[in-house]
Symmetry: C2
Subunit: 417 residues, 2 copies
Amino acid sequence: MPPLVMKFGGTSVADLDRIRNVARHVKREVDAGYDVAVVVSAMAGVTNQLVAWCRDAAGLHDAREYDAVVATGEQVTAGLLAIVLEGMGVDARSWQGWQLPILTDNAHASARILDVNGGELTRRFQERKQVAVIAGFQGLHKETGRITTLGRGGSDTSAVAIAAAIGAERCDIYTDVDGVYTTDPRVVPKAHRMDKIAFEEMLELASLGAKVMQVRSVELGMVHNVRIFVRSSFVKPEDIDPRQTPPGTLICDESEIMEQQVVTGIAFSKDEAQISVRRVQDKPGVAAAIFGPLADGNINVDMIVQNVSADGATTDLTFTVPAADYDRARVTIEKAKNTIGYERLDGATDVAKVSVIGIGMRSHAGVAARAFKALSERNINIRAITTSEIKFSVLIDAAYTELAVRTLHTLYGLDKA
Amino acid sequence: MPPLVMKFGGTSVADLDRIRNVARHVKREVDAGYDVAVVVSAMAGVTNQLVAWCRDAAGLHDAREYDAVVATGEQVTAGLLAIVLEGMGVDARSWQGWQLPILTDNAHASARILDVNGGELTRRFQERKQVAVIAGFQGLHKETGRITTLGRGGSDTSAVAIAAAIGAERCDIYTDVDGVYTTDPRVVPKAHRMDKIAFEEMLELASLGAKVMQVRSVELGMVHNVRIFVRSSFVKPEDIDPRQTPPGTLICDESEIMEQQVVTGIAFSKDEAQISVRRVQDKPGVAAAIFGPLADGNINVDMIVQNVSADGATTDLTFTVPAADYDRARVTIEKAKNTIGYERLDGATDVAKVSVIGIGMRSHAGVAARAFKALSERNINIRAITTSEIKFSVLIDAAYTELAVRTLHTLYGLDKA
């Protein structure tokens, strides 16, 4: 049987009782015949404590030292889980990022994985069926020999990269939800869990705030074609029937999804702010004059809408930034007023972005048009629109977010029966 | 200037305020021109929490996993101290045991240091005067690539080994006492701090329970002739006059001590238990029959007294064990009764060992005889005596411990003026 990767996040390993629960899940898969690599996060709360200490130690702290400190959280969990597994009679050992090694670049605190050496894991699978318990979130920068971390949610990325390295059948992400939903069930009670979703769709959902999976891990899964299964860690291992597919959502290549929906899910985000630059010169270099300073200030610009100029001389340019960066973004643009050349700056923070995602859009015309019509029938004003091959987003007044999401969820036939 | 090693224990780095205090001590030495390597323990309480988790995870836990878990405590302190130092404008970086590396044997949880590679530290001293902040207590087993720990108090050993590796002028042990005393000041108010003590004497004091320094670290200091200076970490760095020798005790080669006292210090231990095996056969192999099973049971035997047989056939054999092992030791001897062949087993747990230490004994006769006389004048009964070249110990009723220690302290002229 091919190996299997199982990943457990911070709430799933928050204390020793939960770590024991995790161990029973691992044993269940070992008993089913799998060679298992488990990737674990720090116990819930531990990373926050470590980060707080670093911040307390110095306002501007060396990211290399920060990484050495925060990587300890995962190291502790990995050791404890190995001890519990061995106590249950399962051969297991812990692996730190530097031990495998998991090589990363030098971008401390948000490093990217370059290479995972799974050779020793495979050797031990074959030799003695030893379970590998791997500290997630961390790696090694080869040239400096220093510990790196991948940034928040990085354990997902560790898990997918390891799955790719050892040729795992699947990467199971155990989390506090039981899968990926068509939209937030707290907003739309009729939202339902998807059985399958394509990598591209999940990427859009993840980056739009569905929060189930870290974006980079989905990217990595797509590139290496690692099937990712999102499932609940709170199900008791004893309650799982090995003959049935457990509840969860499989993130996979679109070719594996037989009946492709036109629209798969609806995402939304209220942490948006809109800035409109009025009557800017419609000439080359203006966009650079606006977005250059924003990039320099590390302000993440999302939607950008520029209309074709009506008078051939000036135009309006609208973009969105995270609500937290709104004031800073305005000041930045005002400072650059002379370089940019514009008449007036408008803005709003009470806006929301609603996005409709589906690979089927590629082959179905008019998907977005139906949405515009449905929203207008509800008197929801669309401030801006952006589109890509498999999604479109509308910017609306925040007050209408829930109404818009519910309307679109029903429109595209996503309500559960 | 030669490099300097500074070591700070758990109470000295218990929180960020204390870590800042440590950083100011380091900066003081950097400003004085030293190249500094700092060795740190885990923040007070952290190691206990990690150990408790390991115990909770499984009764019999894998020592390799235990080491991976508990080594994180020192890793966190090292990173935080490096951050604080950099925040103060001092170039610094943290080093894990596996990074230098500090190579040890494979005896997880109580590993011995085999080799310390100080080359990179020296290079950075010369190149940029960078302070090395080193996680104490931990190392690397080269063949397996796994993290080892040195056992409780191991950070002292790390510090001395590093001092030897980089040829440090001195290894300063900052601790919660301000030096080594002639005996416990809580028992003898007239006890005084020694300015200097020879390695051999400190070894005897340390192993007899003076608790200031770990035995192995003193051993290592003696072998590599690393001068160890025990001093208080609670003195404010601002209050130290750089022109004066600070309060503390220097542990050094005896040749560095001009006026050698006959007796340097008095140690005592109440955690003793005595077992007497009555009328054993006085023939070869009997001692092995008694102490073999005790060693197999990991029971540490300390004093052993066997008299020359009076009747040429049988004799009494007395030995001491830690009080906690008394019951187990008795059972062990009783089980082996047939092999050993003895008449009766006597024992007592209300006994104490008092030891008199001094290199001067080597050249002064009658030192012990004076003690026996003084103790008998106080009506203190001596149950057993052992002697070595530079110390002698008496086993007495525990109730007389304080009286005996005070009597001997005065007898050998150790009371402060």
